[in-house]
């Protein structure tokens, strides 16, 4: 599904260069559910954004679904985003003027889905995140956790084959977090490939594959999968980090 080969991302602000990703290589297979962990500022969001075609990378190679992303035009990446990819952003990034229903509708409109079909999907997705009764509310009338759930509904409404979630449970209590996790597991079972960034070790452990990003590079934890305690993970992280 996704192959990154030595992808690097350098942010240039004034005289400061930030290497957000360095020679990042990763293969994600169709149908996988991957949890991404790593310290703050290590480049998780940057990786997710590049994977989701939200920003260009500095060097390296990235193919999504057999398509070389490096050579695509802006319109082509917009279409890919729209048709294949669903996002749950770290900030919820709801559009403040639009009510919940309309927020969920945004990607569906750009995809050109008919109004009737949109309605069915939107109502279904809002139902799934338990906000069906508040469809007409504006984002600012909701709590952070509720906004997070709307963002999830918006990502699910397009029935994406590839779902990228940046801290989807960051603002939810543990009960709600588990429900969201179950929702993601369910759509993963239905065939969607999921990459989820999380700080929650417990949630990460529920994912079949864990990867860790440290200082813009990847440490694959498949070996330790299911076994390591939080402490063990931390240890390993240090080892990997110092190995860079």
């Amino acid at each position: 599904m996704l192959t990154m080969n030595n992808v690097s991302k350098i942010y240039q602000t004034n005289s400061v260069q930030t290497h957000a990703l360095r020679d990042f290589s990763l293969t994600v297979n169709e149908g996988e559910f991957i949890a991404v962990t790593g310290p703050s500022g290590s480049g998780k969001t940057t990786f997710l954004n590049i994977a989701g075609l939200l920003e260009p990378f500095t060097s390296g190679q990235y193919t999504l679904d057999g398509v070389d992303i490096g050579g695509l035009s802006d319109n082509q990446t917009a279409d890919l985003r729209n048709q294949k990819i669903g996002y749950i952003f770290q900030g919820f990034n709801l559009i403040p003027d639009l009510n919940l229903y309309e927020n969920v509708e945004v990607p569906l409109r750009y995809r050109g889905i008919a109004a009737k079909e949109r309605k069915i999907r939107i109502e279904q997705c809002l139902e799934q995140v338990g906000l069906a009764s508040r469809a007409k509310h504006l984002p600012q009338q909701l709590s952070g956790g509720q906004q997070q759930r709307v963002a999830i509904a918006r990502a699910l409404a397009g029935k994406p084959r590839f779902l990228l979630a940046d801290e989807p449970t960051g603002n939810l209590d543990s009960l709600m977090a588990r429900q969201v996790m179950e929702l993601l597991e369910e759509i993963n079972k239905n065939g969607a490939t999921i990459v989820m960034v999380t700080h929650d070790a417990e949630l990460a452990r529920r994912a079949p594959r864990n990867i860790q990003v440290v200082d813009g590079q990847l440490a694959d934890f498949t070996l330790y999968q299911g076994k390591p305690t939080l402490a063990a993970t931390r240890d390993n992280e240090t080892v990997v980090a110092s190995g860079v």
Partner: protein, 437 residues
């Protein structure tokens, strides 16, 4: 999607009512001013008789002996002498032609019930009505016979007919012009023109005459002109008969020449006519000179649309441009503030084209609203022109074409202001604002 964009525009406008109002108002003021000056200009420069303006010609003869100069751009007098007008009319050329001049009479019914009024009149020959396509409500132009036998006949306007005869068919009735009784032969429809193109000598924006009587009555009643009379040489002519025989110019003349060939023949005739006149001691000049200008050329030649008017239109467009640049600044601020939202839309699959379209629609909504308000302001402006300036009164109106032009100019202006901000905002990278918040 288009309706959705309109919906989004409306929300955006509601969210920033002050800025939105400022933008709409700026366009409205610009459009209001532009449309006021443009409407007057449009009415002035509009072809007054589109289907025939190329076929009706005004002859000018250079009657002056060598060494004399006329105050016109091509040294030709603007009008004809009485004798030339008569001779041209009587010339044996089978085309419609008519001399004419403006005068006026006190109109009454010789009864104490109806108060006499002073009305402008035009002395013409019967062809005048055909040349200028004047429709008749009742009756018809007088006959050639009445004209030749100096019969006292009159064509009155619908307006006079309404006043004196309550709009009923008055053909066959008599009215008094000054002290003479005239038989009404026709009632001609009111002539509502913006430019009095058939007689620009007496004010190109004057109202039409209300009475028409045969040109042949002029010498009998010694009817003087209400228009200009000019001469180029000192003459000792005395009285009205002297005027008729003089070199003074005061008669207008029109001929309908349907083909290039007719025009050529008429021109040839003018030359041979002037040549003939030399034997009477007139046209003492090296080169015989004439001009045949059609209606369009005639109005152009007479600078009916003055330079001032053009400058005014230009200035008002410049003012519109100033409004546009203000709006551009406001739009820039407004759209760029929305970049985070645009980033989200881009991330969710909006192409640049989607974003551009959304913002251009918003700009158009503002432009259109400004255009409509601008029309209202222009109407106010034109009303102002009408009440303060009776001469330009008939011109200070918006016809349908101007009503349609206003929104087009408003849209163009708003595009001009909006394209750059919309282009900037559609280039927003999807990711830039996603990490913050």
């Amino acid at each position: 999607m288009f309706l959705h964009y309109i919906d989004l525009s409306w929300r955006s406008i509601k969210r920033t009512p002050v800025i939105s109002f400022l933008m709409v108002f700026a366009i409205a003021i610009g459009i209001g001013l532009t449309m006021t000056s443009l409407s007057v200009y449009h009415m002035m420069s509009m072809d007054p008789i589109p289907h025939k303006s190329g076929n009706i010609f005004y002859p000018q003869l250079n009657i002056m002996d060598d060494g004399n100069e006329w105050h016109s751009s091509d040294n030709l007098p603007y009008q004809l002498t009485y004798q030339d007008a008569i001779n041209l009319y009587n010339a044996d050329i089978p085309v419609l032609k008519s001399p004419s001049f403006r005068s006026g009479f006190s109109v009454h019914l010789n009864s104490p019930e109806v108060k006499p009024t002073m009305e402008p009149a035009r002395l013409v020959n019967r062809e005048f009505f055909t040349i200028f396509d004047r429709p008749f409500v009742y009756g018809a132009p007088w006959s050639r016979d009445s004209q030749d036998t100096h019969e006292y006949v009159v064509v009155i306007s619908e307006k006079i007919n309404d006043r004196l005869f309550a709009g009923k068919n008055s053909v066959g009735q008599h009215i008094y012009l000054d002290n003479n009784s005239y038989r009404i032969v026709g009632v001609s429809a009111n002539w509502e023109h913006h430019v009095k193109y058939y007689d620009v000598n007496n004010g190109a924006f004057n109202v039409a005459e209300q009475l028409y009587i045969p040109f042949s009555i002029a010498p009998l009643e010694e009817i003087g002109t209400w228009g200009n009379m000019n001469g180029w040489k000192h003459e000792n002519s005395k009285g009205y008969q002297g005027l008729l025989a003089s070199e003074r110019v005061w008669i207008q003349f029109w001929a309908q020449l349907n083909t290039m060939q007719e025009k050529q023949q008429f021109g040839d005739y003018l030359i041979s006519y002037m040549d003939d006149q030399r034997e009477k001691g007139r046209f003492n000049r090296e080169v015989l000179e004439f001009k045949l200008r059609n209606v369009t050329e005639w109005l152009e030649y007479n600078k009916v649309v003055s330079e001032d008017n053009r400058i005014l239109v230009g200035l008002s467009f410049m003012f519109l441009l100033v409004c546009v640049s203000n709006i551009l600044g406001l739009l820039l601020a407004k759209f760029l503030k929305r970049a985070p939202e645009v980033g989200v839309r881009r991330a969710l699959g909006a192409s640049k084209r989607h974003i551009f379209a959304q913002h251009i629609v918003e700009v158009s909504v503002i432009g259109l609203a400004g255009g409509l308000l601008g029309i209202a302001i222009a109407q106010l402006g034109l009303w102002g022109v009408r009440v303060t300036n009776s001469y330009y009164g008939a011109l200070a109106n918006m016809d349908v074409s101007m009503l349609l032009t206003a929104p087009i100019i408003a849209l163009t202006a708003s595009f001009l202001a909006g394209i750059y901000p919309a282009w900037l905002v559609c280039r927003t990278q999807p990711a830039i604002y996603l990490k913050s918040q």
